[in-house]
């Protein structure tokens, strides 16, 4: 599918309007943003600690176990999304805080932070929704556009979607290795990545060991030692469910950001030598937003403002709400589509899209994508 481009003049003035929004907002970044992210980190740490403790109180009544699991799940979501994703983008590097530094930070998940930084910050944010370049588009397992050639196994992709949701952190962990066809298929030649395959595999397993030790050995064993075997399994199971909650939520939010019905895809030729205005335009057409409450925005790591995040990936997440209001006005002014809706509405179109492209394309020539 080729995307119809607005005129060069429109793109130029669009580009200027967006730069102005960025400059205005970045000039305001300071103490307020630092206080905000520190507050979120405090809440996250508190929920992490209290959640794990409350789960132990499940020894007295199962309801505590349930509360603890939900709190831990929420702590993991905050850690991965509002703190991890955004800090690892470099949004808070200006604070010079070694614990909130994009190169130092790692998250509570099985995916190695360095590996994610390489695929996400570079591949996905530079080549957003370019088929064949942005492997986040469908994660190599889903066919979400007719530009992806049909293969028979795509018939089962609704089931794949469910598996991907449940195992999302593992998919993210394996994402870069899969790109190199390590463990599956014929391994690609070395040299495309800045690190060797051996190092990639080593980092992959190191991070998995660290994460598995915490959730499935250390905490269950400590509690089990004092309170007996049933509690060993209660904590192990609780941690498993907390990880599951995080996987489901992260996956839903992320899919609503790029795979809703209206989101466009691009091919490589279209993006050769693209102007800054064209790049902005591609980011807007390639992303979609979610409307909802303040808590929903924070829990989504402000990826509910996916469009603004893609326009200004290193703007502190705290500023995306105010950026969104202005970006929306600029889009309206230039007659450029701005895709947003409630979580439920957006996710319905994601599911519809997954089902739609699980059917083989019609034989007659090119099929336009809505």
């Amino acid at each position: 599918m080729t995307t119809h481009l607005p005129s060069a003049d429109t793109l130029e003035s669009f580009h200027k309007d967006l730069d102005e929004i960025r400059d205005d907002i970045m000039a305001k970044v300071g103490q307020e943003d630092a206080n905000y992210i520190r507050k979120i980190v405090r809440i996250q740490r508190g929920m992490d600690l209290v959640g794990r403790l409350t789960m132990v109180a499940g020894f007295y009544h199962w309801i505590f176990w349930v509360i603890g699991v939900v709190m831990l799940g929420c702590a993991k979501i905050l850690n991965n999304m509002e703190v991890g994703h955004n800090v690892m983008h470099g949004q808070y590097d200006w604070m010079n805080d070694p614990h909130l530094n994009s190169r130092e930070f790692d998250w509570d998940a099985v995916a190695d932070g360095n590996s994610w930084r390489r695929t996400h910050n570079f591949e996905h944010h530079t080549y957003t929704n370019i088929i064949g370049k942005d492997r986040d588009f469908g994660y190599d397992t889903l066919r979400l556009s007719d530009d992806v050639p049909w293969k028979d196994h795509y018939r089962f992709q609704p089931i794949r979607l469910i598996v991907l949701m449940l195992m999302f952190e593992w998919a993210v962990a394996y994402h870069e290795l899969f790109g190199e066809r390590i463990f599956i298929g014929k391994r690609h030649k070395e040299g495309k990545l800045p690190i060797s395959h051996a190092q990639l595999i080593k980092d992959f397993f190191t991070k998995i060991r660290l994460a598995v030790f915490r959730d499935y050995i250390f905490f269950p064993a400590v509690v089990g030692l004092f309170l007996g075997w049933p509690m060993f399994f209660a904590i192990l199971g609780g941690n498993f469910v907390a990880n599951l909650i995080r996987n489901l939520w992260a996956n839903i939010i992320i899919f609503c950001g790029h795979f809703t019905e209206e989101v466009h895809t691009f091919n490589e030729e279209e993006c050769v030598n693209e102007s800054r205005g064209q790049w902005y335009y591609r980011q807007i057409l390639g992303s979609s937003n979610i409307e909802g409450s303040k808590v929903m925005h924070i829990m989504s790591g402000h990826l509910s403002r996916q469009i603004e995040h893609h326009l200004f990936p290193d703007m502190p997440s705290y500023r995306y709400m105010e950026a969104a209001e202005r970006v929306r006005q600029v889009c309206a002014k230039h007659n450029i589509p701005y895709n947003t809706g409630t979580l439920w509405d957006q996710y319905k179109t994601v599911v519809a899209r997954v089902i739609k492209y699980s059917r083989p394309p019609k034989k007659t020539g090119e099929v336009a994508n809505a």
Partner: protein, 375 residues
């Protein structure tokens, strides 16, 4: 800093196990780093990285020099006269870090628990003018352990101290320490000042010199006498050749004095000097606006011409380095690295950086003056 390094090197099985468990449970190198935000709720400004300390007073010295009087936290172990340290304070959400010499004596610290740092306000600077305002009513800052080897040489050799402007601070520490401990070493200070009004600590030095036969202080008024020269030293301190020469001041002054005293026959091992911040890159340049970029890890110094500036990433690659890079347009942050000193222009935002240590993106940064990079 050296303390942290030794503790890592002496990494026993136990400390490695602690680090591994901390990584697993908290994704941090130390459990305390995970707890830091929670501890800060009770103790604002507490960090795992440095020692929480209190600024007690900001004392004006001259128009553009002030002294911070600081009570270092309990973990701060003391210092040797002449050493410097890093002070970190939060400015509008950013942790700003600067190096300063301690200008008071270790004996003063032992007696009162206080240290002093005397700071010149840099014109157009982001931090030095702000520190004075921000701590006017006291406040919390963070200090690193003292470091540096610009200290009185071992033994009892006579010394000649040559100071320019705020380069006086380590010498004030040394001389007041000698006075406090009754050190009998022969010391002669030549202190170059812009004019009478900028003669820092004048009364104090005159008092010390009057009370101690072994200490001499000569104020050199640049407005009258001009910059440092061979005649000055021959006239003021004729036995300079038998002394160890210690120099501290602005970069051009240090370069001038080093040149002159070497010509006068003082051997290199008898000359000690201290720059503020990173040492400048001593190479000839075609245009005064050209900037040298020192890629420290790569061991390469390269020139960036003012006429055809290129990004630091391109400069590194032209000089055979291969820093990690991705999108090359400032989106992906893969080429991010630490700038140790110098000013760069961010071509994406059109903003100039600070002069101190901070993270920059190589692909959208152009050097403005001499830059030292941890690449």
């Amino acid at each position: 800093m050296s303390q942290a390094e030794t503790s890592v090197q002496s990494g026993s099985f136990f400390s490695k196990a602690h680090e591994w468990v901390a990584q697993s449970l908290t994704q941090q190198n130390k459990i305390s780093a995970y707890l830091e935000p929670l501890i800060q709720m009770a103790v604002p400004g507490w960090t795992t990285e440095a020692i929480r300390s209190k600024v007690i007073q900001v004392r004006p010295e001259t128009n553009d020099v002030y002294t911070l009087v600081i009570r270092p936290g309990k973990r701060w172990k003391g210092f040797t006269a002449g050493q410097h340290l890093q002070i970190t304070a939060e400015q509008n959400g950013t942790l700003q870090t600067r190096f300063f010499s301690v200008s008071s004596a270790p004996a003063h610290f032992r007696k009162t628990g206080l240290i002093e740092m005397s700071i010149r306000v840099q014109e157009g600077g982001r931090v030095t003018p702000w520190l004075r305002e921000a701590f006017a009513a006291g406040g919390i800052c963070n200090l690193t352990p003292a470091e540096g080897d610009f200290v009185l040489p071992a033994g009892n050799d006579p010394v000649l101290m040559i100071a320019g402007g705020s380069g006086i601070t380590p010498f004030r520490s040394m001389l007041s320490q000698m006075a406090a401990t009754g050190d009998k070493r022969d010391a002669h200070l030549m202190f170059y000042v812009r004019d009478e009004a900028n003669a820092l600590f004048k009364e104090e030095f005159e008092k010390i010199a009057a009370q101690h036969e072994n200490i001499r202080v000569t104020f050199m008024n640049s407005a009258e006498k001009g910059v440092f020269s061979a005649e000055h030293i021959q006239e003021v301190c004729p036995d300079f050749a038998e002394r160890k020469v210690m120099i501290c001041g602005p970069t051009p002054m240090i370069q001038l004095v080093r040149g002159v005293v070497s010509e006068q026959g003082v051997s290199a091992e008898n000359i000690m000097f201290e720059y503020f911040g990173a040492a400048p890159i001593e190479l000839d340049r075609a245009d005064a606006k050209d900037a040298y970029v020192n890629f420290e890890k790569g061991g390469v110094a390269a020139m960036s011409s003012a006429e055809n500036p290129v990004s630091l990433l391109e400069l590194a690659e032209q000089n055979g380095l291969k820093p990690l890079a991705g999108c090359r347009v400032g989106v992906c942050h893969q080429c991010k690295c630490t700038k140790k000193s110098g000013v760069v222009l961010n071509t994406l935002t059109g903003q100039y950086s600070d002069t101190g240590r901070e993270d920059i993106q190589l692909c959208v940064s152009v050097p403005v003056n001499d830059v030292v990079l941890d690449v």
